[in-house]
């Protein structure tokens, strides 16, 4: 293969760049919704169920609120839930999985059988169950989504732990008296990080979809607060009167979920991990 000239290389659109380009607007919406939304999220501004027009780019909803403004204001909750739950699942899953793979023995057997048990509950069913028990607050949502994603993350990280356990530098550290936690944080974690980061981006993408599904089912942000999932739910009720109602929130979900996947793919190429993104998303991103 011929090497690309320097200038063309710098201009090349990598998946990371494309992913960030898709994600950044939504981060901006989440941080400063009032700057981008033409109206307030609860403001009734026109007749209900108008189609897209110059005044209302996405039209109005069933009680006459501006849909674009609601999509923008919903970004905060949807991004917060997806990023936080991915972060929690990632942290718990990584620490348990790496330790499990590294220590092995009884600890490994017990934690992997526990993972099996949790994985045998269908994702949405488990999340539904947890939210019913512990309430519908945002932090419960975050923890519920994190908890259903943790087992598969742990199993994935365990594989990495097993892989790294026999590496020379780990053995060397053990021989020179490195403790388990020292080895975990100084040797296993940094070396597993590239692959794990790709897994994290897949997790974030899965989290967006799970969060949207839960709020579609009425278990996420409670009305009148806007979320992409509950806007799509309203869209079904009026599909004959305002067919384009759900397009905006739907695209928002797909764009954000897709952006995370793209960033992960970019990271994978950057770090040159030998696993492909598809196989990672197969192991951690089961929705």
């Amino acid at each position: 293969m011929t090497a690309a000239p320097g200038r063309a290389r710098a201009l090349r659109i990598t998946p990371t760049v494309a992913g960030l380009a898709l994600l950044v607007p939504f981060v901006a919406f989440a941080l400063f919704p009032a700057l981008f939304a033409p109206y307030g999220p609860y403001e009734i501004v026109n007749t209900p169920l108008l189609g897209p027009s110059a005044g209302h780019l996405l039209g109005t909803d069933e009680i006459g609120r501006d849909l674009l403004s609601r999509v923008v204001f919903a970004s905060r909750n949807d991004l917060l839930v997806s990023i936080m739950s991915a972060a929690v699942a990632f942290t718990l899953g990584t620490v348990f999985g790496l330790l499990s793979g590294y220590i092995g023995g009884i600890f490994d057997t017990v934690s992997m059988r526990t993972v099996d048990v949790f994985l045998s509950f269908p994702t949405i069913v488990m999340a539904l169950f947890l939210i019913t028990v512990f309430g519908r607050e945002t932090w419960v949502q975050i923890l519920a989504i994190a908890l259903v994603m943790t087992p598969s993350t742990a199993r994935f990280a365990r594989g990495e732990g097993l892989l790294l356990r026999s590496r020379g530098y780990v053995e060397a550290s053990k021989v020179s008296g490195g403790g388990r936690l020292h080895i975990l944080f100084r040797h296993l974690l940094p070396n597993a990080m590239p692959t794990l980061l790709v897994a994290a981006s897949v997790l974030a993408s899965a989290a967006v979809l799970i969060a949207a599904s839960l709020s579609y089912l009425g278990l996420g942000a409670q009305p009148p607060a806007a979320s992409w999932g509950n806007m799509l739910r309203s869209a079904y009720g009026v599909v004959y009167d305002a067919p384009l109602f759900g397009i905006g929130p739907g695209i928002a979900i797909s764009v954000v979920a897709g952006a995370y996947v793209l960033i992960g793919e970019g990271l994978r190429r950057r770090f040159r991990t030998d696993r492909n993104t598809a196989s990672i998303s197969r192991s951690v991103g089961r929705v």
Binding site: R113, T114, D116, V117, F118, S120, F121, P122, T123, I124, V125, L128, F129, L130, T132, V133, S205, L209, A212, S213, Y216, L217, G218, L219, G229, L232, R233, A235, Y236, V239, Y240, P243, G246, G250, I253, S254, A257, G258, V261, A278, S281, R282, R286, V287
Partner: protein, 343 residues
């Protein structure tokens, strides 16, 4: 050892064969043991989460009871607690619950119906939708992946790849909405939601079935496609494929008779696992299309705080998943002898 009749003496080969059989049986026994352990843990976890649920089953059963004094109400409450066995220690209650569940008795709903009857009345619709979606997704993924594999055009391959990738970031209710907009609202070919039993009106039943089945099937198709695509690519590089070509087989014959069966083998596992975890997708799709199956029943029961029903459905689906995963493993060992030897 005195040898009397040559036929009775186990030869070295016989001994080796019986050792293999013993090892095989041992492995099956271990697998059954693990299956039983996971099932026990699944039921225990379901039971424990049930204990954590807010509100008590007793108060739900009692209802408001107008015209009773607080003392009379309390008396009724106590007698109900005793008759339901709720005064016993938790381990006893758990065992009782499991034993009853094994007999198909999941208790009563908060309206006083038998949970097993309610759930049973919904299984048919769920199975119909689930099987239809799996059939569609399996056939579609085979056709699409073979088409992409045999196509020489990069544009076609790229187009199919991107379509599949987009399906991965579309939650079911968003994909379903697009299908409803196009096929129900605009073209008016199909109804947007509802259900008619097949025995009442087969044609109507199928019309109602198309959109929910497609909504479930497309993401499954995307998943199967990924596996098939990777499988086709890997298998096509193996030496035996070159040898087939060298012997002068037509490329069609090589692709369909030699590459595809080998590439499809690992996909069996995925199809099985998807079949086992279908309920996650069904929860959303059934409530989108008002399809009266177990998924919709689950969502409704969560809303009504009808915990016995919730527990029954959660237990049934997770048991189905565990058993299906076990069977898939087993079937896979039968179809692919290589996995037997390695274990």
């Amino acid at each position: 050892m005195t040898v009397s009749a040559g036929t009775d003496v186990p030869t070295t080969q016989d001994r080796a064969a019986s050792a293999i059989w013993r090892a095989r049986l041992g492995r099956v026994a271990v697998q059954f043991g693990q299956l039983a352990a996971v099932l026990a843990a699944v039921s225990l976890l379901t039971f424990l989460i049930m204990q954590a649920l807010p509100g008590s089953a007793v108060d739900n059963r009692l209802g408001p009871l107008p015209g009773f004094t607080p003392e009379e109400r309390e008396q009724l409450r106590q007698s109900l607690i005793v008759s339901l066995g709720l005064d016993r220690p938790l381990p006893y209650q758990y065992v009782l619950w499991v034993v009853k569940a094994l007999q198909g008795d999941f208790g009563l709903t908060y309206q006083g119906l038998e949970v097993s009857e309610l759930v049973g009345s919904r299984i048919g619709a769920t199975v119909e939708l689930g099987v239809a979606s799996l059939l569609i997704s399996t056939v579609l993924s085979l056709v699409v992946s073979m088409y992409a594999y045999r196509s020489r055009s990069r544009a076609t391959k790229g187009g199919i790849q991107s379509f599949v990738t987009v399906l991965f970031v579309m939650p079911a209710f968003w994909l379903g909405l697009l299908l409803v907009i196009v096929f129900a609202a605009q073209l008016q070919w199909l109804p947007s939601a509802g259900y008619t039993a097949f025995s009442d009106d087969p044609r109507k039943n199928l019309e109602f079935l198309v959109l929910p089945a497609l909504t479930l099937a497309l993401p499954q198709m995307a998943l199967f496609f990924r596996y098939l695509n990777a499988g086709l690519r890997d298998v096509s590089r193996l030496p035996f494929v070159t040898s087939c070509r060298a012997r002068g087989l037509s490329s069609r014959r090589v692709d369909y008779r030699h590459v595809l069966p080998n590439a499809a083998l690992p996909t069996i596992t995925v199809v099985g696992l998807v079949a086992g975890s279908l309920l996650s997708g069904l929860v959303i799709v059934e409530s989108v299309f008002a399809w009266p199956g177990m998924g919709m029943l689950l969502v409704d029961s969560v809303g009504r705080k009808d915990y016995n029903t919730v527990a029954a459905i959660v237990l049934i689906t997770s048991v189905v998943y565990v058993v299906v995963a076990f069977l898939v493993d087993f079937v896979y060992q039968l179809v692919d002898p290589r996995t037997r030897r390695r274990a």
